[in-house]
């Protein structure tokens, strides 16, 4: 046994290495190919864009020191920090950004996230191969000035510029523009990063080394945290909230997150196409409080809207529903009958979701509420992930599907785009001229005027009961008492550059 004890001394929670849970293996650490959340988290430690995040995920200058917007909101000029260096001490220049965007837009690269650049003049045409790279609205004016020309005013452009697809492209050999550089990568195990001494603010970096651990199972992650092998977990296992609270106290961090979970009707098929009363009835009877507190129990927040609270231009809390639960049930029964259903002629419906314990519990609870209050007969269909997303996207056999969205950036349009008629993300197949017109109008507007139009667009989605909002996501981590600088925030973005070990 002494031998075993000696081995355990090499426990990794030592000295200045911070150990963070990452979730699944990143799909890619190529800035133009990465899509997964885990990849973005690592890439934001390795690379830096024009704009970056502070510890509370508020926007602060990155490689760009400063920027100006033209009066029409379409031309942005960025002044680059002359101190900015890659990890081999070579300067980061405006041309590196242009080169990066050219590579991203090249169809041969097959970047899955390049659609994010569509707001830039000729970006879409370029990725379709219709114009030359030089026609794209991103230009270097000298070594330290970058100009971006947009097709319409895009108030969230600075936040878009925190996405790795917009980062400077170092070319070969691999170099890093961010606070850390990559030193080791073992697929399925971990990614080790070390402080980049040539980063522009290297002096402020507290961590010498950082290790991201690939751990798919939240229960496994919890075990490793309890065994002292991790400082920060990516998430917590579902359904053990009370126990975790007792066990970990302040180390458990649950905080609002800009994400919504909802059920989506298929508006192209019976019985929900053109049947507003039925959709409304099914939404009204669901007791969100009961669902979040008793069924899901991981801190989720009951939802009646699409856009989560805290979004700029939106209230800080969900206003809830004007009617009490009893009144809602009575109203739902009336609407259900109005839609032509009754106890003798009940609605038979399929509720489709991807296999997961949390979704299974959600579906069982929703089906029980529909049956109890309306007499609806629900078939709960759970499908393996790829089958589910393929079916949901095709919409040929779906009736009600699990949906959800997590903000890419703090702008309501990011959520509302899901319901535009021509969006590939629109698996509701709702086609509404009023809504499309509102979204088009918002594109030409700026400031408060634009937000007002977007609020009308959200209202349209809610009035038409395109979806059944159920809850807003929360971010969930365990953060060891030795870690400093971990601030809860709505985007759940925690760059390692702000973290330190006591």
């Amino acid at each position: 046994m002494p031998l075993l004890l000696a081995w355990s001394m090499v426990s990794p929670c030592g000295a200045q290495t911070l150990h963070r849970g990452l979730g699944p293996e990143p799909d890619a650490l190529d800035i133009h190919l990465a899509q997964s959340l885990s990849a973005l988290n690592v890439l934001r430690d390795l690379h830096e864009g024009l704009v970056t995040f502070d510890a509370r995920a508020e926007l602060i200058p990155g490689v760009a020191r400063d920027w100006q917007v033209s009066a029409d909101g379409r031309t942005w000029t960025f002044e680059l920090d002359p101190q900015a260096r890659f990890s081999d001490n070579s300067p980061i220049l405006a041309e590196h950004f242009v080169a990066g965007w050219e590579r991203a837009l090249d169809p041969v690269t097959a970047s899955p996230t390049v659609g994010l650049l569509d707001v830039v003049v000729n970006a879409r045409q370029r990725r379709l191969g219709l114009v030359e790279a030089s026609a794209v609205g991103v230009r270097a004016h000298g070594p330290h000035r970058l100009e971006i020309e947009l097709i319409e005013p895009v108030p969230w452009l600075p936040e878009l510029l925190t996405h790795p697809v917009t980062f400077p492209w170092p070319g070969e050999p691999p170099r890093f523009s961010g606070p850390f550089k990559l030193v080791e990568r073992v697929p399925g195990s971990h990614i080790t990063l070390r402080a980049n001494p040539h980063w522009r603010e290297a002096g402020q970096l507290a961590l010498a080394e950082l290790r991201w651990h690939v751990i798919e199972e939240p229960n496994v992650e919890l075990s490793r945290y309890r065994a002292g092998q991790l400082h920060i977990t990516e998430t917590i296992p579902p359904g053990r909230l009370d126990w975790l609270r007792r066990q970990f106290g302040d180390e458990l961090r649950i905080s609002p997150y800009l994400g919504s979970f909802f059920l989506v009707f298929n508006h192209r098929r019976e019985p929900f196409a053109n049947n507003l009363p039925l959709r409304q009835a099914l939404s009204l009877v669901i007791d969100r409080e009961l669902l979040t507190e008793r069924v899901l129990g991981a801190g989720e927040v009951p939802a009646w809207q699409l856009v989560p609270p805290g979004m700029p231009g939106w209230p800080d809390t969900d206003p809830g529903h004007a009617l009490s639960q009893e009144q809602r049930i009575a109203e739902a029964r009336r609407l259900y009958r109005q839609a032509g259903y009754s106890e003798r002629r009940p609605l038979r419906v399929e509720l489709r979701f991807n296999t997961s314990l949390a979704h299974r519990r959600m579906a069982a609870a929703v089906a029980a509420m529909w049956r109890e209050h309306l007499g609806v007969e629900t078939r709960q269909v759970n499908e393996e992930w790829k089958v589910f997303v393929a079916n949901r996207r095709q919409g040929r056999i779906t009736q009600i599907v699990r949906g959800g969205w997590i903000a890419d950036w703090r702008d309501a349009a990011n959520f509302l785009q899901l319901f535009e008629s021509d969006s590939p993300l629109n698996y509701s197949f709702w086609h509404d001229d009023v809504f499309d017109e509102l979204m088009a109008r918002a594109r030409g507007q700026q400031g408060e005027q634009r937000l007002a139009t977007l609020r009308l667009a959200e209202q349209r989605v809610l009035e038409q009961h395109v979806i059944i909002p159920l809850y807003y996501y929360v971010s969930r981590h365990l953060v060891h008492a030795d870690v400093e600088g971990f601030e809860d925030n709505l985007m759940d973005i925690h760059l390692s550059r702000w973290l330190s070990l006591r």
Partner: protein
């Protein structure tokens, strides 16, 4: 024997080809594709991806392309882990799975066979019942129960060993190896016991004893060798399985082996990764079954493959 070996190896090629063909088309039949995700991609971006990986070509062309590729030992790029080729992933994961599997296998043999033989000699006595009950428990408790219990005890409560993660160090290997070996120890003990009992009742053992041969010689030289034949048959496929890793053990101890690629590859519709691990597994199965047959000949002099009647 050489003649037989060559014939066996030659027959492996059509077997493998059949396996590759089945696996190739089966995974393509599964609904959904490698690039289906929570957020659907715009069609033209999907087309770029399909073109990059030749998924836009007719399936038969893709199949031919794939055969040509693997003939050059190139398993292609992974469709899900975009930074890696399947060769990379297997080259990084296989040594880990092989190491753990091989240690577990040796451990299982070293413990399982003596327990089985010992129980056989005490047939229907308390010691036999005790050993076999423990073995039965070893077989029936699944590894996804054993592993978290081991972690709870040795990593969290006692703090002696890490709860997971991987390095080529003994402390990281102890718990996964125990988890892998336990059910094998139990199987091997049970098989050894049953076959040993049968051998001990056979006439040549009775003859040996009647001749006054020392009991030790009877057991070790005469009884044990034939008694091991069923263990050897079990070991062929079992070795191939344990050396290619275990999904559950790799998940629970976060070990970067290749076992989880069987499941992850299929779930992600990572066609090339699935094919890579299936081919590897197929080769190992063929190889170990071949070794089993050779061992048989060595253990049982009655089996001789060069005998024209047996070999043909």
């Amino acid at each position: 024997m050489l003649n037989y070996s060559l014939k066996r190896l030659a027959s492996a090629i059509p077997t493998l080809l059949l396996l590759i063909t089945f696996a190739f088309f089966l995974i393509r039949i599964a609904p959904g594709g490698p690039f289906d995700a929570e957020r659907a991609l715009p069609p033209e971006i999907e087309a770029n991806l399909a073109a990059k990986y030749h998924l836009d070509e007719p399936l038969v062309f893709q199949y031919a392309r794939y055969l040509w590729q693997i003939a050059r030992l190139d398993f292609g790029p992974s469709f899900h882990y975009l930074d890696w080729t399947v060769n990379d992933l297997i080259a990084q994961g296989a040594p880990v799975s092989f190491t753990l599997g091989a240690i577990a296998l040796v451990l299982a043999l070293l413990i399982g066979i003596p327990i089985g033989a010992w129980a056989a000699l005490r047939q229907n006595r308390p010691a036999d019942y005790a050993a076999m009950s423990v073995a039965m428990i070893g077989i029936s408790i699944p590894n996804f129960v054993v592993a978290p219990l081991l972690i709870l005890l040795f990593a969290i409560t006692l703090g002696w060993l890490p709860a997971g993660g991987w390095e080529f160090t003994p402390s990281r290997m102890v718990l996964p190896v125990i988890t892998l070996a336990l059910p094998m120890i139990a199987y091997i003990a049970r098989i050894t016991r049953a076959s040993m009992i049968e051998v001990l009742h056979s006439s040549f053992i009775r003859t040996a004893r009647a001749k006054g041969m020392p009991e030790k010689t009877v057991l070790l030289d005469h009884a044990l060798k034939p008694a091991l034949l069923p263990v050897i048959s079990y070991l062929g496929p079992a070795a191939a399985a344990i050396l290619t890793g275990s999904v559950v053990v790799e998940r629970i101890f976060t070990i970067p082996g290749i076992g989880s690629y069987f499941v992850q590859g299929a779930l992600n519709r990572d066609y090339t990764l699935v094919m890579g691990v299936v081919i590897l597994y197929g080769i190992l199965i063929i190889l170990f079954n071949f070794l089993v047959d050779l061992l048989y000949a060595w253990l049982d002099p009655r089996i001789r493959y060069d005998d024209p009647e047996v070999a043909s």
